[in-house]
């Protein structure tokens, strides 16, 4: 149950400053919250509401539309096994059963050590490589039962280095200096050409 850390709060303010209206920053801030705690906590939503001048109900209403925001604790590694038609034809069902047995949890469950959450998902756009899965949204393709065991073992032993902890969107955080922002005026109030348009115009003339 945590609010943003001081570091993350300053990142949050920087994100908010990129948008004409603070409310527009809701989705990136929800990602930031999920990155901090692995899931979106109640206090984080309160904090986002304070920072963006919205209500916690609006923050939750916006965030809960998206499956990939978790509003309850999940494992540090969330495994999504595709169960849509192509993967199903290629053995996803038995893979899922195998995964349940290997991890000792049912679909939707989290292992007792808090390391894994197992989910089934609809098509993840990897039909040509079926059956497919994602771990914290990193792909594993044409997955066999042995591959799955190896994956779990690698994660347990810390050798699956390409997979960051749940909530991490990217390993490099983008930062946009103020002078490269899109201009902070709401469109209906804009009297001057926005910074980026002026820059593009200048580039064209050169």
């Amino acid at each position: 149950m945590s609010r943003f850390s001081l570091d993350n709060e300053s990142i949050a303010r920087e994100i908010i400053s990129r948008y004409p209206r603070p409310k527009s920053a809701l989705i990136p801030l929800l990602h930031l919250a999920q990155e901090q705690d692995g899931w979106v906590t109640i206090d984080a939503m309160r904090h986002i509401a304070e920072l963006t001048g919205t209500t916690p109900a609006e923050v939750m209403g916006t965030g809960s539309f998206y499956e990939m925001f978790k509003f309850h604790p999940v494992g540090r590694y969330v495994i999504n096994i595709c169960s849509n038609i192509t993967c199903q034809l290629m053995g996803a069902e038995s893979l899922l059963e195998h995964a349940e047995a290997k991890l000792g949890v049912k679909v939707g469950g989290t292992t007792a050590d808090g390391l894994f959450t197992l989910e089934d998902v609809e098509c993840i756009a990897a039909c040509t490589e079926a059956p497919a899965l994602q771990v914290n949204y990193r792909y594993r393709l044409r997955v066999t039962a042995e591959d799955f065991d190896q994956l779990v073992d690698d994660i347990r032993s810390g050798t699956a280095r390409d997979i960051p902890e749940h909530g991490t969107l990217s390993l490099v955080r983008q930062s946009i200096p103020a002078d490269r922002g899109a201009g902070i005026v709401p469109p209906e109030q804009a009297r001057e050409v926005s910074v980026w348009m002026a820059r593009n115009d200048a580039a064209e003339q050169n």
Partner: protein
């Protein structure tokens, strides 16, 4: 671009008939005006359309062949052809209903909405008759409370976005929202953050299914068992129009009526649920007289005899009447006639030092709510927080600012419920609002901006620039800890703004009716004074007062001094409501005889009354009400009063008769006829006009004989560095006797805290919530303290009449401001 030239009407063919629609008019509205009802769920005439439910799909042809279009989202265009009854339209209506009913439980027999449910009605009218859906419906926990009074049954919800849109765009309390997605989409609150809105009852009224229900009405009655009467809400001065509904002679529900100039169908929860106090088990069903320390029930003749003997023994100058805002116009007039004409005292005041100079309210040019809300105009708030005190007015003002480009400039001692949408919030030091007003007006009239009352020159000059278009100034008491004279002086300054008009925000029920009825020292009914009006009353009244009497503060001071023999409490409770509790207590202890007219025993009655005459309530007697604009609307009797309680005007007539004078009234109509005959401003008040103005009321304009008072010239004493200046402001739910007797509202009075600017808070050196000693020249309170950046440095804000910590303990009614020391307890 000749075809876009502004046309005044557009011709639309609706089911074969040509109809002239207005430019910009939505098709659903044009059809309705043409007499063709298009079924709908999400569309609501007072909110922006969202096209959520698709129930209003009709076949529309704009020249490219018929296509299904949502009538609630489609503005009319010239030459448009609409078919609301073709097989295509019928099929889609049946289809939409079949979809909506997939997850909707068929529990109509146990649903409160059954019988008045748009979903039920429209399914009967347009539905398929049978559903092809045989699978299991979606399940949710059956109703969950979303606040203390409102329950939400998510299984019944059809996701029309009416409640959530209301919370967001009308009330500005975005505490309910759609959560989750797809089949799981539901309305809900944030965990542990209830829908704490003063306006939550409106969502229950506009929900087109039985998903939202309110505690006071749940499982109480069926719509077809209800009797209904058009009336006026009585808990504040907005005069919101209501339908009072009863079953078996008991009021069980109030619904808002859409009156275009007033409340647009909305009500505050206080207006909506306050009828519960009238059903309280503690209601007086018979008069009481004092026997030793107790008030015991007695018969009317005994009680009246006792009251009359007290009155006839007393010298008229030693009789005083306090109160009257609870009464109907007719009862107020009867009491004015009894007190001023028969008994012969002018010590009559309906305000309890919580109002304004009546001559200021009646003498200044007045604005209507509509005029205040003129699109693009300027609203200057020099009064109380409308969200806390006059809920329906708040909703109208908020709409004007948020949706109609009006600019709000606040001159209030602290932030209000409108501050989030205000263009400029200037917070003067308590007692100095007139200085701020002067500086603002000077800057607006082209002079240099100078800082004033603790507000910087920059703030004043940017606010001055914003003053444009029609200017309405809302006047009232933002704080009861500074004197009304401060507002008088500020209002007179602001009157110099060109074209400015004033809207009174005196809050107490029918207080504007009371002022129009002459229940104030120096006034006679019909906006006239005892000097100017005496001649007009010569025939109808036995006499009129020769000289101006005392106001409530004067009356109580005289009473405490032993100079009042009989005090009449006309539905008033000075202990809790007078701005100065120590003086009220001293007066009630000293005054030898107190006669009260009331519905419930309040603290002042319990302490001092000798005779209590049981009065009927707002839904139990007929009459009219005057709202803050001066608009008269009817209050109709819906149920019989409990026991032998009777209307206040009947009690006045009885007392007069026993004093040897016939007031000449045998009905409210006979009183209205006399008002119309003697008043300079009420000549248009006749039964026919009143009947025709059933929904919108009858606006009584003009100042009559009242002249605007002169500048008082207040100058608050300098305050020492150790003191803070008190701001005592009202909140929607307080510890008044009516709310104590309303089960739905009782729990809503907020626990009291003293709020200080963080800088001042830090100086005390205690934790948030610590109980501190707050001491003024006249009294002391122990209250928890907390920091609040919305409070200016040097001020201390305390809610009025909060349970257990009455702010009026600290107030001296004769001083301009109230300074307090706040120290560790």
């Amino acid at each position: 671009m000749t075809n876009t030239e502004a046309k005044t009407t557009l011709s639309v063919t609706i089911d074969g008939e040509v109809f002239e629609a207005r430019p910009g008019e939505l098709l659903i509205e044009a059809c309705e005006r043409a007499g063709t009802y298009i079924p709908r769920f999400c569309y609501h005439s007072r909110m922006k359309p969202v096209g959520m439910c698709r129930m209003c799909l009709v076949e529309v042809d704009t020249g490219r062949g018929p296509a299904l279009q949502p009538a609630c989202m489609l503005p009319c265009s010239d030459g448009m052809t609409v078919s609301t009854e073709t097989p295509g339209t019928r099929k889609v209506q049946a289809g939409i209903l079949e979809y909506l009913l997939i997850n909707h439980p068929l529990d109509c027999p146990v649903c409160d909405k059954g019988g008045e449910c748009p979903l039920q009605d429209q399914t009967v009218a347009y539905g398929p008759g049978e559903s092809r859906f045989v699978e299991e419906k979606r399940h949710y926990e059956k109703p969950i409370p979303i606040n203390d009074n409102v329950f939400l049954d998510r299984e019944r919800c059809i996701l029309c976005d009416r409640c959530t849109r209301f919370a967001d765009t009308v009330a500005g309390d975005k505490l309910i929202h759609f959560m989750d997605r797809g089949n799981n989409t539901q309305v809900n609150t944030f965990p542990d953050e209830p829908f704490a809105s003063y306006f939550s009852g409106n969502t229950v009224q506009i929900c087109p299914v039985g998903a939202l229900t309110a505690r006071p009405y749940r499982f109480k009655a069926r719509p077809w068992d209800l009797d209904e009467t058009v009336s006026t809400a009585w808990t504040d001065s907005a005069g919101a129009r209501v339908a009072v509904q009863s079953s078996r002679d008991k009021v069980i529900r109030l619904l808002g009526i859409d009156s275009d100039p007033v409340n647009w169908g909305w009500l505050s929860d206080k207006e909506r649920f306050a009828f519960e106090a009238l059903n309280s088990d503690d209601r007086l069903t018979a008069p009481l007289t004092r026997v030793g320390d107790h008030l015991v029930p007695t018969g009317w003749s005994t009680a009246l005899e006792r009251a009359v003997s007290l009155l006839s023994d007393a010298d008229p100058d030693r009789v005083a009447v306090i109160g009257g805002a609870r009464l109907t116009n007719e009862s107020q007039y009867a009491w004015a006639k009894l007190a001023k004409g028969v008994i012969g005292t002018d010590n009559v005041d309906s305000q309890l030092a919580d109002g304004l100079d009546p001559e200021l309210v009646l003498g200044l040019p007045r604005a209507t709510i509509d005029e205040a809300c003129t699109p693009g105009g300027t609203i200057i708030l020099c009064g109380p927080d409308p969200k806390e005190e006059i809920g329906s007015l708040y909703l109208r003002l908020r709409h004007a600012v948020v949706h109609d480009d009006a600019r709000l400039i606040e001159l209030t001692p602290t932030a209000t419920g409108l501050s989030p949408v205000a263009a400029h919030s200037l917070h003067p030091r308590p007692g100095e609002v007139a200085d701020l007003a002067r500086a603002l007006v000077e800057a607006a009239n082209g002079g240099p901006a100078v800082s004033a009352a603790g507000v910087s020159a920059e703030e004043i000059s940017s606010a001055a620039v914003a003053i444009d278009g029609s200017v309405t100034i809302i006047i009232g008491r933002a704080s009861l800890a500074e004197s009304a004279d401060c507002v008088t002086d500020a209002a007179l300054q602001l009157a110099a703004l060109p074209g400015s008009r004033f809207l009174s925000a005196l809050r107490r029920g029918n207080i504007h009716g009371a002022l129009d009825s002459g229940l104030a020292p120096g006034l006679l009914p019909g906006r006239t004074t005892i000097e100017a009006g005496a001649a007009r009353f010569a025939d109808a009244w036995p006499s009129t007062p020769a000289s101006r009497g005392l106001d409530t503060a004067g009356i109580l001071a005289a009473a405490a001094d032993g100079r009042i023999d009989v005090l009449v409490l006309l539905g008033s409770d000075p202990i809790n409501d007078f701005a100065g509790r120590p003086l009220a207590a001293a007066a009630l202890e000293t005054v030898p005889n107190v006669i009260a007219l009331d519905m419930l025993v309040n603290d002042s009655i319990a302490m001092a009354a000798d005779v209590v005459l049981a009065a009927s309530g707002a839904t139990e007697s007929a009459g009219t009400f005057t709202n803050l604009e001066g608009r008269i609307s009817v209050c109709r009797q819906r149920v019989t009063p409990p026991g032998t309680a009777r209307a206040d005007w009947m009690i006045a007539s009885e007392i007069a008769r026993r004093l040897g004078f016939d007031l000449g009234f045998d009905s409210v109509e006979s009183i209205r006829a006399e008002i119309a005959a003697v008043s300079v401003v009420h000549s248009g008040l006749d039964e026919k006009a009143l009947a025709e103005a059933l929904v919108d009321g009858l606006l009584i304009g003009g100042s009559g004989d009242i002249m605007v008072p002169g500048v008082v010239g207040v100058s608050p004493s300098a305050h020492d560095a150790y003191s803070l200046r008190l701001v005592a402001s009202r909140s929607m739910y307080d510890d008044g006797v009516a709310l104590r007797n309303s089960p739905s509202s009782r729990g809503l009075a907020r626990s009291v805290t003293l709020r200080l600017n963080p800088t001042d808070f830090d100086k005390i050196g205690v934790d948030r919530g610590t109980v501190v000693r707050t001491e003024s020249a006249v009294g002391r309170l122990l209250v928890p303290v907390e920091p609040d950046p919305g409070v200016p440095v040097g001020s201390a804000v305390l809610p009025w009449a909060a349970p257990g910590s009455p702010a009026n303990t600290l107030i001296d009614p004769f001083s301009t401001v109230t300074d307090v020391r706040v120290e560790r307890a």
